[in-house]
């Protein structure tokens, strides 16, 4: 049974009934229909903080799931050639719809053991340096476009990360990604956590799954800074405008990729294929642009962001 989120509690008896019926080999059509109906009702009325929880659901498809499903002959490349190899970032090259394409993303684990190994998807400076090294390699040597998959609570905030230059690593990535000569499509598939996400998030097109988030700070972090109380995360989530719908209205996101009611963790295959389809569409449009035009447009996209009075 999928782990139910706090706002899905009304589904618990239905799922139990379903389990019971399956055990007794009875027809489950009716109950499944009822679950779908309830899900539809719940998912048509989500608060931003509910969406935050969906984005963090442990069963939500992660970068590795997308790579396994959408890429063939994927070859993972390791290491930053300076200090180490950060498992929180996965980078490599393979065939995407029959074309050589690079992919870079945050790696989250499915359980605690994996998550400890991947540091919950929070990358160290080595991870960002690896990402950039591979991006250069893919675009300049293999002349291939790049898909980046964003799913991180944020950059690793440890002492070690600071000492090895987390700020410098991210700054250098932002600067250099503007000059990568092949198309980049970034897709937020779960949590887009601030600089940690932006560090591999400079792109020509930014797509977002419907129940993913992208924010300058986690709602909990925001609450602990502005409210001085981390339990005010719900209010913070409302105020931050971090859902795909909000960001589309703010012209930050180019396209929202739909998710069925129940979220990607209940419809994994369907959502993964939808992401693949939209990524291909975006790459198709971008591949028509000349290199000069591509880089110009990428820069324009970011230089125009901001609202102020004048």
């Amino acid at each position: 049974m999928v782990k139910l989120l706090s706002f899905e509690k009304s589904l618990k008896p239905l799922y139990e009934e379903l389990k019971e019926k399956r055990k007794n080999a009875q027809s489950t059509d009716y109950i499944e229909e009822k679950i779908a109906e309830t899900l539809k009702k719940i998912y048509s009325n989500l608060t931003p903080y509910d969406i935050v929880q969906i984005a963090r659901h442990p069963d939500r498809p992660h970068t590795t799931d997308y790579i396994n499903a959408l890429f063939t002959d994927f070859l993972e490349l390791h290491g930053d050639r300076k200090f180490g190899d950060d498992p929180a970032i996965i980078a490599g090259i393979g065939y995407f719809n029959g074309k050589v394409t690079g992919v870079i993303g945050h790696r989250k684990g499915r359980n605690l053991k994996e998550n400890l190994r991947y540091n919950f998807g929070m990358a160290e400076p080595e991870g960002y340096r690896k990402a950039l090294r591979v991006a250069h390699l893919i675009s300049e040597r293999f002349k291939a476009p790049i898909i980046t998959l964003l799913d991180t609570p944020g950059a690793s905030p440890t002492i070690g990360a600071e000492e090895r230059g987390q700020a410098e690593a991210i700054a250098y990535n932002l600067q250099e990604l503007f000059n990568i000569p092949t198309p980049i499509v970034a897709i937020v598939i779960g949590e887009g956590g601030s600089g940690g996400a932006l560090g591999i998030g400079i792109a020509d097109k930014l797509l977002m799954l419907k129940y993913s988030i992208y924010s300058v700070i986690s709602p909990e972090g925001c609450a602990s800074i502005l409210w001085r109380d981390a339990s005010k995360a719900k209010e913070a989530a409302n105020a931050l405008k971090l859902t795909a719908n909000d960001l589309y209205k703010l012209h930050i996101v180019d396209k929202i990729i739909e998710e069925p009611a129940g979220g990607a963790h209940r419809h994994r295959e369907e959502v993964i294929q939808a992401v693949g389809k939209e990524a291909q569409k975006a790459l198709n449009t971008l591949s028509r642009l000349s290199k000069k035009k591509l880089l110009e447009k990428r820069k324009e996209k970011f230089i125009n962001i901001g609202v102020y009075n004048e």
């Binding site: 609570p153 944020g154 950059a155 905030p157 440890t158 002492i159 990360a161 600071e162 000492e163 090895r164 230059g165 987390q166 700020a167 410098e168 991210i170 700054a171 250098y172 932002l174 600067q175 503007f178 000059n179 601030s194 600089g195 932006l198 400079i202 992208y214 924010s215 300058v216 700070i217 986690s218 909990e220 972090g221 925001c222 602990s224 800074i225 502005l226 409210w227 981390a230 005010k232 209010e235 913070a236 105020a239 931050l240 405008k241 971090l242 960001l247 703010l250 930050i252 820069k299 970011f302 230089i303 962001i305 901001g306 609202v307 102020y308 009075n309 004048e310």
Partner: protein
């Protein structure tokens, strides 16, 4: 040149009221009492232990720019509340209070000045304006300053004193980091010199921007961190030792060029500008 932009001398702002001025200040590091006049005379550095107090944007410009040479640009760019953000107080209110208290319209003061006789584009974050946080208006001003420097082939000096992105502007504030980094990159590409100066504190996105400097200078004891202490505490569930993110330890890790005492900050910048300007003659 520049006749369409309003020129304005920097406003001297009474961040410290007259009443407070009369009272001695307790040093946050050694705990000794210092008279405000004495502290001011010593460039807001504790005369006993060398602790660097925060400076306002006005004080900072006066410290670095030659007397009466600073002319401000882009004063018309003002912070707005585009998301209708509300935490314990509304963002509108925060802006209003900050404006009244500081006389500034955003957390950046930018302009042109002479430094040791050399023309330079200079900008500083104003910590007194909502923690010097980086919002759209601040980001736009810094970006324009960089473009201003590029167009006129001036060396660029930016002083960081900021808690990071302006959370109240949500994703817009994060994107300012990308925007400014891009502007810096194209400035550096054109052959420009960007001297970045990190003061206490430089956190989160502004730390990222600061690290893009050609020469990265930090003031003694400056706290520099990509996550910021409060966030790191909330995420890592433990205190990151304050000592470890200070300039003195970061330079050992190879992340900074120079750590200077505030008294030597200007002369260090001037030396760099001297070496830089030499190449044109």
């Amino acid at each position: 040149m520049n006749i369409f932009k309003r020129k304005k001398k920097i406003i001297k702002v009474p961040i410290v009221t007259e009443e407070e001025r009369a009272k001695p200040v307790r040093c946050k590091s050694c705990g000794r009492l210092i008279s405000y006049a004495e502290l001011k005379k010593n460039l807001k550095v504790c005369p006993y232990c060398g602790y660097h107090f925060r400076m306002t944007a006005g004080e900072r410009i006066n410290l670095i720019a030659d007397e009466d040479t600073f002319s401000e640009i882009d004063t018309e760019v003002k912070a707005v509340d585009m998301l209708n953000f509300k935490d314990v107080v509304t963002y509108k209110n925060r802006i209003k209070q900050a404006k009244e208290r500081t006389g500034l319209d955003s957390a950046a003061v930018t302009g042109k000045a002479k430094i040791g006789g050399f023309d330079a584009a200079i900008g500083t974050f104003a910590f007194e304006f909502i923690g010097g946080s980086l919002g759209s208006a601040t980001g736009e001003k810094i970006t324009r300053l960089i473009e201003y420097a590029k167009k006129r082939e001036l060396p660029l000096v930016i002083v960081f004193s900021s808690g990071g992105e302006r959370i109240q502007e949500g994703i817009y504030s994060l994107m300012q980091v990308a925007k400014i980094i891009y502007a810096i990159d194209s400035f550096k590409e054109s052959g420009g010199l960007f001297i970045s100066i990190l003061t206490n504190p430089t956190y989160c996105g502004t730390a990222t921007i600061a690290m893009a400097g050609n020469v990265v200078i930090a003031e003694k004891g400056a706290s520099i961190s990509i996550s910021g202490p409060r966030l790191a505490k909330q995420v890592a569930k433990k205190n990151i030792l304050p000592k470890l993110e200070q300039a003195e330890s970061l330079i050992e890790n190879g992340l900074l060029d120079i750590v200077v005492d505030r008294h030597l900050l200007k002369s260090t910048i001037v030396r760099l500008l001297k070496y830089y300007n030499r190449r044109r003659i």
